[in-house]
Each structure stands twice: as structure tokens, then as C-alpha cells.
């Protein structure tokens, strides 16, 4: 097909017919009889649980499957008329861009400008054309200020934008993204999604985006394709998808959809704006609670009208803590006189944008970085699980990682006592995370009593909702056993599910600290979808929102009732 025909959109951006694929030495097929078509300029969302085949489908569309990974493939995949099974990823790079989950391994050059220019250079574009294309894509993605920087000085969000720029610089017809927001804070994640939407509208590039946090991107999508067990289980508009998911797989629905579903309102909203419009159209106004919800969480470090004072039985006590780290060859204060206290048995979500100091606080508490001033104490011990649980797993048998009675006690705490003889690599992602936590806990359990503080740093990256629910149970159980639990997270919905208290960090200091319902309903970025829809103090979960709508909402002359029987 000619270049001109491709540019005019004669061929679909992606056409998949009867695609089946199995990785080498795999027991079962990763894809089975997948057929779908993405039209030029379409924004399609790929939904589904973990291991449903989303990533494999994206890899097949960019030629990595089977050219790079091997395995057996059948069926047909064409990108803008180019046969992806015949052509290699390099040939396909002219028509398709691919952005994966981990930005670290998606850059291959030292400087940003060279990284973006590389695909053009390798396909033989002339230097002036390359220079112009780099400039234009940098402007489109608002990163011209990064061009002269080295990639190892960029934040996760900046690195993800650079990877996107390198994928877009060839002006592809289709861009594929595999959970690109999983490592970003809510601000950077939202910015990336709407940037994609803008590029989709202005450049006409088709987008196929795989994502777990659908509430973040459903409103931007034209269409949703759901996958289950390697096959397409649904294909339709976002509104139709929500109706389908409510019946077929409720774990795939968004919080706003669950809110409407529980309240018996239809149609289910694809985003905050749609939800508000529905409520306004039907003149439904959830009544605000008569008074702000009472603060049920003890605030050990914040007495009313008093200065900060650490509690008597604190699991964590930080008084005027300063931590200095090096950034861009310059010393930089990451924590700036931070005060915080966490009591035993508390469930605390530590939130804030990337670089706010969340991980640094946990690392300082664990002794991995030194404080330069102030007092930071964990009087009854700390077990910290860092962002990548696989880092803890160095042996080939669970029992070898955790020998003896102390090891078995730790395995019992996380519910993995049955897996003593298993190879950690054979465990599921959630089980590996539990094993890593058991390794951090081992020997710190005194007669069934956990260490004073258990901390988890970004534990929900790349998790689907079912696994997050399991993690909520685990965290709640740990707190129930007396440990103070602090989880650093960007995931507001997860924070609303497990935390009784939210501490919001900004630029190294605590900028908000209070009950989760209060903090997560009082902002925009660090607020749940339900809170953004209803804008009521203290209402953050679909259940709370539905109660407010069902029990106490006021109708003002609604003529067309949206209410329906809940499923």
C-alpha cells in the first residue's frame, strides 16, 4: 500500500483477524481467536484483568510478537495495511509506536534529544527533517525544556513523556500504550491521558491503550475492548462497556459507575462530567450530611489547637525531620522539617505527587537514608516493603528464603504457609508480594505480635482491582494485629478502600493530615472519583455515595426518573 494511501486513512489503523498466539514453552495460549479493528483516529481502551492477554495483543500489534519473543502464531495482524507478522518491529516503527509500562527500559540513549531522534535516524531520514520532527514532537508533548537533559535525571512522568515522544516522532498511524500511567502520580497520569486525547484529536493518531485504572481514561476513549483469558469478551462504546461489565465482571467497572449502579441510576456514567450531567439533568441533588463527618481517627500528633506532639505509644514519630539528597549534582532537601506521628493499629495512606518525599520518609524510617536534622523514631521496629517485591526474592524455594520457626511465623501472617516448597517464580504476583512482606517481617514477630510499623511503598503498581482488594484485606489484617500500617500510594481509590487516615505530603512537608473521608473528598487530584462527582464532604466510596443518593437525595420536579432497580 502506498504511503499516500496510508496517510489518507484508507486502511484501518489496526486489523486483527483470528489471532492466536502462544509464548515459547507456554502451557496455554496467550491469545485465542482475537479479532478486532481500530479505525484511523480512534481512541480505544483495552480493559481486562491481569494476564488476560492485553499486553500480548499490544506486542503483536507492534511486531514484538512473534519477531522478538518467538512462539507460535496464527491469524492476521495488519497495522495501517502493513502485515505485522511479515514485517519486523523496525519496519513497523514507521506506522506504529509502542510505549510500555516501565519507562526505565524504554530509553536507550543518554540525552533526551538523541532518544527522540533515534527512530528517524535509523530509518534514514535526513538530518534537517530529523531536527524539525524532534522539535515539533517536543513542542506537542510540552517537553522542549527537556531536550538537552540526560535521561537519568528525569522523573518517571518526564521519562514516560520522552518514551511517548520517541514513539510519536515518526508520525505513526497507531500508538500502543501498555499501562503508561501505572507509575505516575494522579496529576501526571491525568495529564498523560489528556495529552493522548489531544494528540488523537489534533494529529489523528489512533490510540490503543491498555489500562487497569479505567476511571482515569474511560471518558477519553471512543471505544472499549475487554479481554478475558486471551479472547475479546466485549467490544463497544464506554457506556455499553459499563453496562456489560456491571453484569459480566463488576471488577472492571469504575467507581462512578458503581455509585450509579448501587443508587439505581442509569445510564452509568463514563466519567465525572457525565455523572454530574446526569445528576443535574434529572435534578438529583444528594443531600449533604448535616454536619461534617466526625473525626473517628485518633490524631496522635495533632492535638486541637496545640503544637505538634508525638504520642506516647507511637509506631512512627518524626519531629522536625530534614533529609537531604543529591539531585542534579546539587544537594536538595527532600524532607523539610517534617512532623508526623503514626500510632499502632492505624491504617495510614501517605500520598502526594512524585518527589513529594513519601518514599524518602519510609526509607529514612528504615535507616536506608540518613536524616540531617530532627528526630525520626520507630520505637517498636519497622518492616518495609519497597516498590519492587521481586528484589527480596533471591532463592529458588520459599522455605529457603524463610527458614525455621521464625520464617514459618512470617509466612502464616501473610497466609502463605502452604507454599513452603514452592519456587517464588511460580507464585502469582500477589503471592510474591506477600512473600516479600513475610521476608521483611521474619524475625520481627514477637510471640505473634507484629513490629510496631509495617510500611509498603507503592504496592498497587500494575495491579487489577481483584488483587487490590486482596491487598486491602491483608493491610487491614496487619493493622488488626496491632501494627501501624503506612502505605505510600498514588492510588486514591485504593487509599479510600484501606486507609482510615490520609497524610498528604507536598515538597517535603505534611500539607494535609486527617481522616481518609475528609482528605479524599476535599480536593481535585487527590480525591476519589465518587468525591469528584458528588463533591460532598466525607463521601468518597460508591457505597457512601449511593447511601447519600438513595436515602436522602432530593428531586426537584424530575419528570423522567432515572431510577431503576439495582441489579
Amino acid at each position: 500500500m502506498s504511503e499516500l494511501a496510508i496517510r489518507r486513512g484508507a486502511a484501518p489503523a489496526l486489523a486483527v483477524e483470528g489471532l492466536g498466539y502462544a509464548y515459547p514453552h507456554a502451557d496455554r495460549a496467550a491469545l485465542a481467536d482475537v479479532s478486532l479493528e481500530v479505525a484511523p483516529g480512534e481512541f480505544a481502551l483495552l480493559a481486562g484483568r491481569s494476564a488476560s492477554g492485553k499486553s500480548t495483543l499490544l506486542k503483536a500489534a507492534c511486531g514484538l510478537v512473534p519477531h522478538f519473543h518467538g512462539g507460535e502464531i496464527e491469524g492476521r495482524v495488519a497495522v495501517a495495511g502493513v502485515d505485522a507478522i511479515e514485517a519486523g518491529p523496525g519496519e513497523l516503527a514507521a506506522v506504529v509506536g509502542y510505549v510500555a509500562q516501565d519507562p526505565e527500559t524504554q530509553v536507550v540513549s543518554t540525552t533526551v534529544a538523541a532518544e527522540i531522534e533515534l527512530p528517524l535516524e535509523l530509518r534514514g531520514d535526513a538530518p534537517p527533517d530529523r531536527a524539525r520532527a524532534v522539535e515539533e514532537v517536543a513542542l506537542a508533548l510540552a517537553i522542549p525544556h527537556l531536550l538537552g537533559r540526560t535521561v537519568d535525571t528525569l522523573s518517571g512522568g518526564e521519562l514516560q513523556r520522552v518514551a511517548l515522544a520517541a514513539a510519536l516522532v515518526t508520525r505513526p498511524r497507531l500508538v500502543l500504550l501498555d499501562e503508561p500511567t501505572s507509575q505516575l502520580d494522579p496529576v501526571a497520569g491525568d495529564e498523560l491521558i489528556w495529552l493522548l486525547r489531544r494528540l488523537n484529536e489534533e494529529w489523528g493518531v489512533a490510540v490503543l491503550l491498555a489500562e487497569h485504572r479505567l476511571e482515569r481514561c474511560l471518558a477519553a476513549a471512543d471505544r472499549v475492548v475487554a479481554m478475558a483469558a486471551g479472547a475479546v469478551s466485549f467490544d463497544g462504546t464506554p457506556g455499553e462497556f459499563l453496562a456489560w461489565a456491571r453484569a459480566a465482571d463488576p471488577a472492571l467497572t469504575t467507581p462512578a459507575a458503581r455509585l450509579f449502579s448501587l443508587a439505581g441510576i442509569s445510564p452509568l456514567p463514563v466519567g465525572v462530567r457525565a455523572a454530574r450531567r446526569t445528576l443535574e439533568a434529572f435534578e438529583l441533588a444528594p443531600s449533604a450530611p448535616p454536619e461534617p463527618p466526625p473525626t473517628t481517627v485518633p490524631h496522635p500528633g495533632k492535638g486541637e489547637g496545640s503544637r505538634f506532639r508525638p504520642p506516647a505509644a507511637a509506631a512512627l514519630s518524626a519531629v522536625a525531620v530534614w533529609v537531604e539528597l543529591e539531585r542534579d549534582e546539587q544537594p536538595h532537601d527532600v524532607l523539610r522539617g517534617l512532623d508526623l506521628a503514626v500510632g499502632r493499629g492505624e491504617c495510614v495512606a501517605l500520598m502526594g505527587r512524585n518527589g513529594a518525599g513519601k518514599s524518602t520518609l519510609l526509607r529514612a524510617a528504615a535507616g536506608l537514608v540518613d536524616t540531617v536534622a530532627g528526630k525520626l523514631e520507630v520505637p517498636s521496629g519497622l518492616s518495609l516493603l519497597t516498590q519492587n517485591p521481586s528484589d527480596y526474592l533471591v532463592r529458588e524455594r520459599v522455605g529457603d528464603e524463610l527458614p525455621g520457626e521464625q520464617g514459618m511465623a512470617a509466612l502464616r501472617v501473610v497466609g502463605l504457609e502452604h507454599a513452603v516448597d514452592a519456587d517464588p517464580r511460580d507464585l502469582s504476583g500477589g503471592e510474591r508480594q506477600r512473600l516479600a512482606l513475610a521476608i521483611a517481617l521474619a524475625g520481627r514477630i514477637d510471640g505473634g505480635e507484629l513490629p510496631g510499623l509495617v510500611a509498603l511503598d507503592e504496592p498497587t503498581r500494575g495491579m487489577d482491582r481483584a488483587r487490590k482488594d486482596d491487598l486491602v484485606d491483608l493491610v487491614t489484617d496487619l493493622a488488626g494485629r496491632g501494627a501501624g500500617v503506612v502505605v505510600a500510594t498514588h492510588d486514591v481509590e485504593f487509599a479510600a478502600a484501606f486507609a482510615a487516615r490520609v497524610v498528604l505530603l507536598g515538597d517535603g512537608v505534611v500539607i494535609a493530615d486527617g481522616p481518609a473521608a475528609e482528605i479524599l473528598s476535599g480536593g481535585w487530584y487527590f480525591a476519589t472519583e465518587v468525591a469528584r462527582v458528588l463533591d460532598l464532604p466525607g463521601i468518597v466510596s460508591p457505597e457512601q455515595g449511593a447511601a447519600a443518593l438513595n436515602g436522602e437525595f432530593v428531586t426537584h420536579g424530575a419528570t423522567n426518573s432515572p431510577l431503576e432497580e439495582p441489579p
Binding site: F68, E104, T105, A114, L325, E326, R395, R444
Partner: protein, 309 residues
């Protein structure tokens, strides 16, 4: 944490120069150092390089290089003193050692070891300035049309090195965070884990390279002539240093022998070469932009400059 040896973009003349010019300039110091054993020439080459590194803003890289140089120099000097018993000035007789035989520490062996250590230090300093100031992307871009596979390997390695370093730091942290009841992690399991992780990382990076089009026909590559207004300066200084070094060597300007006794002669050609080497370290100097004083001829100027009330 970022290594001080990693390339850092700065607006210096050395950073702006093409890789060829920078390599020629830094390489000329190293070549002259290998032509001479005269400590004055070696010290001058080292001083010139340190000056060049400081002007180029590579102070951090110089610090690391000097530490590495000292770390290597001391063992070299010590081992040479222990193994070589040439030289007439015996400082200490250590008697008969198993495997070594009679061990005598001579002044000449110590001096020779120190000179070799100085040569190693000069080479390390030059390499550190190169690493900190020369953009590896430009080097690889120059290399790609000439040796595609080597460039691919170099690209993979240059990316994997910082990724593996970050992985190693994370694994060390995780090892420190293990509970006292978990199995201890020694160097061997940690290294195995790092190696396995690096292989996974290599696969990911290789996939990215594939997606960028590395598998395409290398004949497509169109070279960009990357020159800088500083190139001529660096090439000229490199040529001058090399020519002066060779001339001084031909004229017998080394003037240094260690065995059987230390003899140091400082002829005019040796001194001139040393001065030239130190002065060559000024080559990365970049003239500061001249501030233009605005002198307004407008009669309204004083009024315009007056503060608004």
C-alpha cells in the same frame, strides 16, 4: 544516585566539540605521557588535564578519577617496590620471603613504581574527563554507519550499565530490609539475582532498540556532520602537543632513568614541553559573552529609567 563520571550536558567548549576533536585533544595528553617517563612531563600532563577538566566543569569526575588513580597508584608502587630488586640505593632489607626470595626495597624501584602510577593516574583522569564531557550519543551516532553491530553493543551496554547500577542499589536496599529471621543474603545469591535481573533488563532494552528500528538496513543511515566552532582549536592544540612531544622525545628530552640509580635531567626541551602541556589545559576556556552597555541617546531615557511613583 548519579555517577560523577556520567555524561552531564554543560555549555562548555569541550562538551560542544565533536567527539573526534575531544578525543584528539584528551588523547594527545595520554599519548605524550606514554612517550615519556620523566616525572615533570607526566606531572605537567596531569596538571594540564586537571586544568582542562576544571574549566570544563568536570570537577566531580576529576575527584572520582583522582581517588581511583590513588587507589591504583599505591598498589602499583608497592608491588613494584616488593618485586623489583634492581637499583643501587637499598632502603630496607626485608630478608628472604617465600615465593619472593630475597626482598630488598630500593629507592629506584619505588621511584619507578611511582612514575608508572603517575602514568596510570593521567590515563584515568583523561578517561574521566572524556566520560563526563563527551556526549555518548554523538559518539554512537558517529560509530553507527561505520560499525553497526559494535554500535548496537555499545548502545546496549551504555544503557544497561546505569540500569544495572540502579538495580544493584535496589537489591542492596532490599537485602538490608530483610527481617532477622529471613535467610541471610550473601554476595553470591545477590550477584546471581542481579545477573538474572540484568538479563531480563537486557531483553527489555533490546526490545526497545528493535522498536526504534535498529534492525533496519544500516545502509539507510545518513550521517550528520556534527561540527563545532571549537573543533579547530582542539585539533590544533592536539597536533601541537603531539608534535612537541615527539620533537622533545627525538631531541632526547626524556632525561630520566631509574636504574641503576635515579637520574633526572631537565633540559630546555623537557621544560618547554611541560609548560606547553600545562598551558594546553586552558584550551576548553570559553570567552564569556561581552556585556553590552546600553547607552541611550534618547532624551526620554532618563525619564523611562526613573522609578514609577
Amino acid at each position: 544516585m548519579r555517577s560523577a563520571l556520567a555524561y552531564t550536558p554543560r555549555p562548555g567548549a569541550l562538551q560542544s566539540a565533536s567527539p573526534g576533536a575531544a578525543v584528539a585533544y584528551l588523547g594527545s595528553f595520554v599519548v605524550v605521557s606514554f612517550l615519556f617517563t620523566n616525572p615533570l612531563v607526566l606531572a605537567a600532563a596531569g596538571a594540564g588535564l586537571v586544568l582542562a577538566g576544571l574549566i570544563a566543569g568536570a570537577g566531580g569526575a576529576l575527584r572520582v578519577a583522582l581517588w581511583m588513580g590513588v587507589g591504583l597508584a599505591l598498589p602499583i608502587a608497592a608491588i613494584n617496590a616488593l618485586l623489583v630488586d634492581r637499583g643501587e640505593t637499598v632502603l630496607v632489607r626485608l630478608g628472604h620471603w617465600p615465593l619472593f626470595g630475597q626482598v630488598d626495597i630500593t629507592l629506584e624501584a619505588i621511584v619507578y613504581g611511582a612514575v608508572m602510577a603517575l602514568l596510570v593516574a593521567v590515563t584515568i583522569v583523561a578517561a574521566a574527563i572524556y566520560s563526563s564531557c563527551v556526549n555518548p550519543d554523538r559518539v554512537l551516532r558517529s560509530l553507527r554507519p561505520l560499525a553497526g553491530r559494535s554500535a548496537l553493543t555499545a548502545t546496549l551496554v551504555s544503557r544497561l550499565f546505569p540500569v544495572a547500577a540502579a538495580d544493584a542499589a535496589r537489591l542492596r536496599d532490599a537485602a538490608r530490609l530483610r527481617g532477622p529471621g529471613a535467610a541471610e543474603v550473601g554476595i553470591a545469591p545477590l550477584s546471581r539475582r542481579l545477573l538474572a535481573g540484568s538479563l531480563d533488563r537486557a531483553v527489555d532494552v533490546a526490545a526497545t532498540l528493535e522498536l526504534r528500528g535498529y534492525g533496519l538496513d544500516p545502509r539507510r543511515l545518513r550521517r550528520r556532520r556534527e561540527t563545532s566552532r571549537f573543533d579547530r582549536r582542539f585539533y590544533c592544540v592536539a597536533a601541537l602537543v603531539l608534535a612537541a612531544g615527539i620533537a622533545a622525545r627525538v631531541l632526547g628530552g626524556n632525561g630520566f632513568h631509574t636504574y641503576p640509580t635515579v637520574e633526572l635531567t631537565l633540559g630546555p626541551e623537557t621544560v618547554a614541553l611541560a609548560v606547553l602541556l600545562v598551558l594546553s589545559g586552558l584550551a576548553p576556556l570559553r570567552r564569556r559573552p561581552r556585556r553590552v552597555r546600553r547607552r541611550s541617546s534618547s532624551a526620554l531615557a532618563p525619564a523611562l529609567e526613573a522609578p514609577h511613583v
